[in-house]
C-alpha cells in the first residue's frame, strides 16, 4: 500500500530524512517511535506535501501511485490522511463547513454528488459522539480555541468521516487523558480493515496496549534504525533510545 524507498528530504537545504525505507501493507498497523527531532513529523509532512519540504532523493508510492508527483489534495483524495501533531486553527471558517467541504471533495473523487446538508449534519453529530466531542464544536471556527485534546479529537473525527486508505496519526495520543486515549483506540480499531492501514507516531507504549501494532519501528536521525514487533515498544519503554543509538553508531 505505502512504499517508501531511500527517502531523503528536508527543509531549507537541511537534510532531515536521510534514507528512510518503510513498507506498509493493507490491513497493517505500524507504530513509529523515536526521539524528539528525529524526523517523525517530517515524514508525515513530506508524504502530505507540506509547502517548504523538499525531497532530494528516493521515492514514495501509495496504492501504486507516485505520491511525490501529486498535489496535496490529490494525495488526500487518493486515500492519504495525516492527523497533524499540531492541527491548524482557522478562525472564521466553521468546522462544519470545513468538514463538509472535505467530505464533498472525497465524494467528488468517487464521482458522487455533494452530500446533502441534512444527512451530513446527522453524520457529523454521530461522529462527534464517537470521538466524544460536543456537537457545539461543529459550529466553532476550525480548531479555533480548541484545547489540545479537543484538536486531537477533531482530527480523529476527520479521519472517521473521510475513510482514508492510509491514516498517519502523528502523536494523536499526546496530551490526551486516559479516556481520550481509549477514544482514539476505539476510533482506530473500529476502522481497521484489510483494505486500510495505519501508521501511528507515538512516544508512548501505552497507546499500543489499546491498538495492537503489527510492526514497531524506531526512527532516529532520519532513518528507521530498528524494526520489530510490539515487544520492541515494551523494550523501548524500559530502556529508552540511547542503547539503540549506541548500537547504530
Amino acid at each position: 500500500m505505502l512504499k517508501i524507498e531511500n527517502l531523503h528530504a528536508g527543509v531549507d537545504g537541511t537534510d532531515i530524512l536521510r534514507g528512510l525505507n518503510l513498507e506498509v501493507k493493507p490491513g497493517e498497523v505500524h507504530a513509529i517511535m523515536g526521539p524528539n527531532g528525529s524526523g517523525k513529523s517530517t515524514l508525515g509532512h513530506v508524504l502530505a506535501g507540506r509547502p517548504g519540504y523538499t525531497v532530494t532523493a528516493g521515492s514514495a508510492t501509495l496504492l501504486g501511485q507516485d505520491l511525490l508527483q501529486l498535489e496535496t489534495e490529490e494525495r488526500a483524495r487518493l486515500g492519504l490522511f495525516l492527523a497533524f501533531q499540531y492541527p491548524v486553527e482557522i478562525p472564521g471558517v466553521s468546522n462544519m463547513e470545513f468538514l463538509k467541504a472535505a467530505v464533498d471533495a472525497h465524494r467528488e473523487q468517487r464521482g458522487q454528488a455533494p452530500i446533502d446538508a441534512v444527512s451530513f449534519m446527522k453524520q457529523a453529530r454521530e461522529t462527534c459522539k464517537v470521538v466524544d466531542l460536543d456537537p457545539a464544536f461543529l459550529k466553532r471556527g476550525v480548531n479555533e480555541g480548541f484545547s489540545g485534546g479537543e484538536k486531537k479529537r477533531n482530527e480523529l473525527m476527520q479521519m472517521i468521516l473521510l475513510e482514508p486508505r492510509l491514516a498517519i496519526l502523528d502523536e494523536t495520543d499526546s496530551g490526551l487523558d486516559i479516556d481520550a486515549l481509549q477514544v482514539v483506540a476505539r476510533g482506530v480499531n473500529a476502522m481497521r480493515s484489510s483494505e486500510r492501514a495505519f501508521v501511528l507516531v507515538t512516544h508512548y507504549q501505552r497507546l499500543l496496549d489499546y491498538i495492537e501494532p503489527d510492526h514497531v519501528h524506531v526512527l532516529a536521525d532520519g532513518r528507521i534504525v530498528r524494526s520489530g514487533d510490539k515487544s520492541l515498544a515494551l523494550e523501548l519503554e524500559a530502556r529508552g533510545y540511547a542503547w539503540l543509538e549506541d548500537e547504530v553508531a
Binding site: T72, E97, A101
Partner: protein
Amino acid sequence: MSDFMQQVLDSAATGSPPWLQDWQRAGRQRWQASTLPGRKTEQWKYTSLQGLQQRFVAANSGDVELSAAGVALPQLGGPRLVFVNGFYSPAQSSLESLPPGASLVRFSDADDQQAKRIRAHLGLATGRDEPLFTALNEAAMSDGVFLDIAPGASLAEPIHVVWVSANQGEAFSVTQRLLVLCGESSSASVIEHFAGGAGGQRSFTNGVTELLLQAGATLCHYRLHLEQEAALHIGRVQARLATGATLNSFHLALGSELKRIDLVVDYCGEGAHCELNGVYLPRGTEHVDYHTCIEHRVPNCTSSETFRGIVGDSATAVFNGRIHIHRDAQKTRAQLNNRNLLTSTQAEVNTKPELEIYADDVQCAHGATVAQLDELALHYLRSRGVSRAAGEVMLSFGFINEVIESIRCEALRDYLQPMLAARFARDPALVGQVA
C-alpha cells in the same frame, strides 16, 4: 471652481421644502468657496477625485423596478423605505410595521412639528466646520429621511432604508441625507443599504448620515455599500454619543470605481461606548477608502474598532483610523485593529493608524497588518482533499466572516453571508462549499 464643482450644483434636484432652503444656500456658498482637494491634501492622498471630472445630470425619475435594477432586497421584518436614484418609491416601501415610538418621515413630507424637530437636530453631528462634501450634501439636499425614536422606545425590528442606483441612460448624481435621533434610553436598529450600479452608467452619490444618541440610548447601525462598478460614492457618517449611549456600527463596502466613506464618532457624554466594525472588498480596478475618526472628548468611554479588507486583482484600498483622545478624556479605553489580505500581487492597500493622545490615564491599543493568505491554513484544508481554489475561497471568506459574525441582526447576517461567500468564488460551483 472646476467643471464638476459647478455642474454638480446645477444638476442638484430642485423642489426642496422651503424650510430647508437656507441650509441649501449656506451649503452652496461653502461649496462654491472651496476647491476640490487633490492628492497633495493629506486626507485625499491615496484617493483621486479624477473620476468625478465628467458631466452628471440630475436623476430624472425613480420609477424603476428593483428587479430591473438587478437588486434583490432581503426581507428583514421591519419597515422599509426605498429610494431609487434619489426618488422615493412608495410602491417598494412598506411602513405598516413601523412600531409605536418610532417616526420615520421624509423631509419633503414633514409636517410643521416634524420640520421643527429636523431643523433643531440636523447638523448637530456634522458640526459647523464641516467637510467639503457635506457642504455639497447640504447645497444639493432636496430631501432626506428623519428617523425619530422616542425616549424609552425599544424597537425589535430593524428599520431598513434602501438607496438604489438604477440605469437611466446618462450619468447622474444623487444626494442623500439621513438623520437618526435616538431618544433617551431608547434602543433601535437601522440599516442603510446602497445597491445597484452593476452594468449601469456612472452615478455619483453623496450620502451623509447623522446619528444622534441621547443619554443611555442604544443604536445598532449598519451601512452597507453594496453598490458596484460605476456607482461612485462619497459619503460620511457622523455620530454623537451622549452619556451612557452605546453605538454598534457595522460597515461593508464592495468596491466600485470610487468609494470614500468617512466615519466620525464624537463622544459628548461620559460612559459611552462604540463598537465600529467594517469590511471592504474591492477587486478588479476598484477603489475603497475608509477614513475613521474617534473623538474621545470626555472621560470614561470606550471604543473598539475592527476593520478588515480583502483587496484583489489590481484594486486599491485605503484605511485611515484616527483616534483622538482629548486632554479631559481620562480613563478612555480605545482599541483599533485593521487587517488586510492581498490576494494578488497587483493589489494595494494603504493603512494608517493615527493616534493623537493628550490625556495620560488611558489605554489605547492599535494594530494594522497586511498579509497574504495563510499558506499553512491552506495546506491544512488541502490535506483534507479541498482543492486549492476552494481552500482560498474558504480562507478569504473566513477572514471577513469573523467580522460578519459580529452583526447582531440575524436576518442581515443570513443575507450577507452567502452573498459574500459567493463573491470569493469565481467558480459558482464553489459557493456551496462555503456558506
